[in-house]
């Protein structure tokens, strides 16, 4: 297992090199003037466009530009993101924890709800619970996140004032920026608890409820459908029939026999969902004014912020490799017949 993990991790720099090189290559299709638009924000500055191009080396050959960037990375400098207005490493540190917290708050409910109702739907196929579950799944899957987000915001914030947008209120903002507030982990909810600030903890969680609900509703549908179909397939197999014929209770047949086998595609999908959430969910973050990594990544891409795009892409590649590694390891846990050492 250790050998397998190390092998996968050794592959990581290569993946990152490939991704960033490809991105650099694609960016060369844009003219230096277009790439300089990041630094020029007003027609009044246009007369100095050429000087900006020169200053940032935008006319240099692609390998030279890439080599300069790579040299900086090796020195631990990922560059400066104009969209975030801070160094890329700092931007990742600033935006990633919020996304990570939101992911944690969202992912496990997705997993629980998706698997539970997927199984329920399969077991009670074509019965009322199945119809309701399928209806919920289809609406969730087809509903644009900005519509759902906006509706939730209008009702629960605009009308009821229960769950405001943003990361926290002004009071919590002041509190978490006091010198006495220690940032042990960078995760605000955890830090609030460790600082024994129950009120701030509740406030931070309250701000994550609506984005989490939006993500839950739109993301759970796929997991639910996959669990259902995988479970249905398993339930129709001979070994399930045999188990039932042996007189095993239905609960045991479902939990111990069918579910264990049905979970393999669920694990694959879950890892992809997890990566998707960690990579940031732009629209949800925008609607709820949630300062996550997705919004930054997309803004960097829109504004041709090369260091920003490369930084966020590297993070995404890293997460992808790690999530794949974890899901490969989970396969072995779910199904002992699968061995990951080879």
């Amino acid at each position: 297992m250790l050998k397998f993990c190390l092998k996968r991790l050794a592959f990581l720099p290569l993946v990152m090199f490939g991704v960033t090189f490809l991105l650099f290559f694609c960016l060369q299709f844009l003219s230096p003037e277009m790439r300089a638009s990041l630094y020029i924000k007003d027609p009044r500055q246009l007369s100095q466009l050429e000087a900006v191009i020169e200053k940032y080396g935008l006319r240099k050959p692609m390998p030279v530009q890439y080599a300069i960037w790579l040299k900086q990375v090796v020195r631990g400098d990922l560059g400066y993101s104009e969209t975030a207005k801070m160094p890329v490493a700092e931007a990742i540190r600033a935006f990633f924890p919020a996304t990570f917290e939101l992911t944690l708050l969202t992912f496990f409910p997705i997993l629980i709800v998706g698997v539970f109702f997927g199984v329920l739907s399969a077991v009670y196929k074509d019965r009322l619970v199945d119809h309701i579950t399928r209806f919920v799944a289809i609406t969730g899957y087809s509903l644009p996140s900005f519509v759902l987000g906006l509706v939730l915001l209008m009702v629960f914030y605009g009308r009821l004032h229960w769950f405001p947008p943003g990361r926290y209120t002004l009071e919590t903002d002041m509190l978490v920026h006091l010198d006495s507030f220690r940032h042990y982990t960078g995760l605000l909810t955890l830090d609030c608890l460790l600082n024994r600030e129950g009120g701030a903890f509740v406030d931070v969680v309250k701000h994550m409820i609506l984005p989490a609900c939006t993500l839950l509703y739109i993301s759970v549908a796929l997991l639910l459908r996959i669990t259902r179909s995988s479970m249905l397939e398993e339930l129709s197999k001979d070994y399930v029939r045999t188990a039932r014929a042996k007189g095993l209770p239905e609960r045991v047949v479902i939990r111990k026999h069918a579910l264990a086998n049905a979970l393999i595609p669920v694990v694959t999908l879950s890892s992809l969902l997890f990566i998707g959430l960690l990579g940031g969910v732009v629209i949800t973050e925008t609607v709820f004014d949630f300062p996550g990594i997705g919004r930054w990544g997309v803004q960097a891409a829109q504004q041709l912020d090369v260091p920003g795009v490369l930084g966020s892409t590297m993070l995404a590649a890293f997460l992808f490799v790690m999530a794949n590694l974890i899901s490969d390891m989970l396969y072995a846990v779910v199904d002992p017949r699968i061995r990951v050492g080879g």
Binding site: I40, Y80, A91, R159, H161
Partner: protein, 588 residues
């Protein structure tokens, strides 16, 4: 179902929203939800509205405008103890030397006292650090007679010496000697050249004020400037925190301010990208003012507890239809075949005045005002806004007139345009609904004149727009100009002087126009200047290098409990943000 609905209604009625209008949320804190985060809070780097709004609340300039004033007469002293004039002897007879007595006892936010040397350093740093694309040229032009501290991209070693000679301290006064008389000079100092602490700057790795080290600090990269988390001005508010992750800037009242301290204790400027979220924040009282573009005006009307102040006229020229006299034909898809063969236009298509006039007679100005400006705009004709000395009162030069448009198209290019037809692209910025509507209007009206006429609409991204403008590839486009300082020169020069930004790009050059603008910038007497600008405008009217469509208005959406708002047309980010020193919150 009816019971459920009734129960839900009861719950909704008992929610805090029902009480929101009665009590003031965060009574001593003002929250402004906007879309633009600051680029830099270093006054010598910043050249964007979002940054400049914050800078103008943290830092102070030598002078300022009184209320909604616009002319030199409306200037009031700030860090300078008096507004220099020939009458008070602080401007020399030749109009070249300005003396600014520096106010005593003014404290920076760190508690240190502002000295005349700080004032001198602030102006020198603004002039000489001079980043590419920055605002330095605004003061370089009047003080040193140049637009850059670099020649052919290389630092001019003589520039430091010249600047040191031009900006001096004498008997506690800051003395600035101009390269040539420059009438708008004082108005620039009401918006640029913020007073900074030399010690603070040096401690933060900035230029030490020595000539020997100047080159190393000239044209820096963004990362080399004062970090955005730090600022030390003399303004009514001090920077408490710039929270990049949450995209908000928090300002706290400066208790040691030289005037009475601000009524607000705290100001929060928060970036909220989505309009609906901003609107809901205004509705909930979590935002006291929000940014909203024209198209969202109806949505902000009637928000409970909020008011919309309409009809605010910024100092700008918006919606100018520009014609490029000589285009770059290389790989230019905007001009089709590049010939007058019905499949394109020649690169100098718009050099023919009849073509320009035909386009001008094809614009439906009234619909533009009615539909896009919500009926709040008015026709305009001049380069200089009417509110400025030398400005023109709205005097429509053109109206929608298909007959006259046809007449000019028939005359254009010796009749070839009408006979062979043409195909040209109208280019506009992605996301600009007004530009798109105008473009569609012009296309419809021109194509209706002759089936051989074709106007293609091309919506392009800002980055592509930059590239094509730089390469002179756009035949006809919509432009806008917002004032750096409230003076006719800041409109006349960029829009119609052959060395100005727009005229330069268009390839428009009229030596008489150039000469009149140059002469007006040197003239101190306002009446003479006005007459020079009026003569310039007559020549421009004759040439039709562009068409002014109309001037619109802006609006401010704020909670009704916000009091003290003064519309200052030259203040950055007006009317959305503001000068927070004016504001306070009260029920009545």
């Amino acid at each position: 179902m009816r019971t459920l609905r009734a129960a839900l209604s009861c719950v909704l009625a008992l929610t805090p929203a029902a009480f929101a209008a009665e009590t003031i949320k965060n009574p001593d804190t003002f929250v402004y939800a906007t879309i633009g985060d600051p680029d830099s809070l270093d006054p010598i780097w910043s050249y964007d509205t979002a940054s400049h709004n914050i800078i103008a609340n943290i830092y102070e300039f030598l002078l300022a405008y009184k209320g909604s004033g616009l002319s030199v007469k409306d200037l009031v002293p700030m860090i300078a103890g008096k507004v220099p004039s020939k009458a008070n002897g602080l401007v020399s007879a030749d109009g070249l030397t300005y003396r600014f007595p520096i106010r005593k006892g003014v404290k920076f936010h760190d508690g240190t006292i502002l000295t005349p040397e700080d004032a001198r350093y602030s102006i020198l740093r603004f002039l000489l650090v001079d980043r590419d694309g920055g605002p330095a040229s605004l003061l370089l032009e009047p003080i040193l007679g140049v637009n850059s501290t670099r020649k052919n991209g290389k630092f001019d070693p003589e520039i430091g010496g010249r600047a040191f000679a031009a900006v001096t301290v004498d008997k506690g006064d800051l003395v600035i000697k101009l390269a040539r008389p420059f009438a708008p000079f004082l108005t620039i100092l009401a918006n640029f050249g913020a007073m900074t602490s030399k010690d603070f700057c040096v401690k933060n790795g900035q230029w030490d004020g020595q000539a020997a080290t100047l080159e190393a600090f000239n044209n820096p990269r963004r990362e080399a400037m004062i970090p955005n988390e730090k600022a030390d001005g003399t303004g009514a508010f001090k920077l408490e925190r710039l929270d990049k992750a949450n995209k908000q800037v928090i300002l706290l009242r400066h208790e040691g301010y030289w005037r009475a301290p601000a009524k607000l204790r705290q100001v929060v400027i928060k970036v909220v990208d989505d309009f609906n979220t901003r609107k809901l924040m205004l509705q909930a009282g979590d935002a006291d003012a929000v940014y909203g573009p024209q198209m969202y005006f109806p949505q902000l009307q009637g928000v409970p507890g909020a008011e919309v102040i309409d009809g605010l006229q910024n100092l700008e020229r918006s919606s100018i239809l520009m014609f490029t006299f000589k285009m770059n034909p290389t790989a230019n898809q905007n001009i089709g075949s590049g010939k007058l063969d019905g499949q394109g236009v020649p690169p100098d298509f718009f050099s023919d005045k009849d073509v320009r006039k035909a386009f001008a007679y094809s614009v439906d100005y009234d619909s533009y005002i009615r539909d896009i400006l919500r009926g709040k705009g008015r026709r305009t004709s001049g380069v200089i806004p009417a509110s400025l000395p030398g400005g023109s009162e709205p005097r429509p030069q053109f109206k929608l007139d298909p007959k006259k448009a046809e007449e000019h198209f028939r005359k254009a290019w010796g009749g070839q345009v009408w006979e062979k037809g043409f195909k040209v692209s109208f280019v506009f910025n992605a996301g600009s609904a007004p530009s798109q509507t105008i473009a569609q209007m012009i296309k419809k009206n021109i194509e209706a004149l002759n089936p051989k006429f074709r106007v293609d609409l091309r919506m392009i991204q800002w980055s592509t727009y930059l590239e094509q403008t730089q390469a002179n590839k756009i035949p006809v486009f919509l432009a806008a100009w917002q004032a750096d300082y409230p003076d006719a020169h800041n409109f006349a020069f960029p829009i119609v002087h052959s060395e100005g930004y727009y005229a330069g790009k268009q390839g428009y050059k009229n030596p008489k126009v150039d000469a009149l603008i140059d002469e007006a910038s040197r003239t101190q007497d306002e009446r003479t200047r006005s007459s020079l600008y009026k003569r310039m405008q007559s020549l421009v009217d004759e040439d039709v290098p562009h068409v002014m469509l109309a001037e619109g208005v802006r609006y401010r959406a704020q909670r009704t409990w916000v009091k003290g708002f003064v519309f200052r047309p030259t203040f950055p980010d007006m009317p959305y943000g503001g000068y927070y020193y004016d504001l306070y919150k009260a029920v009545k």
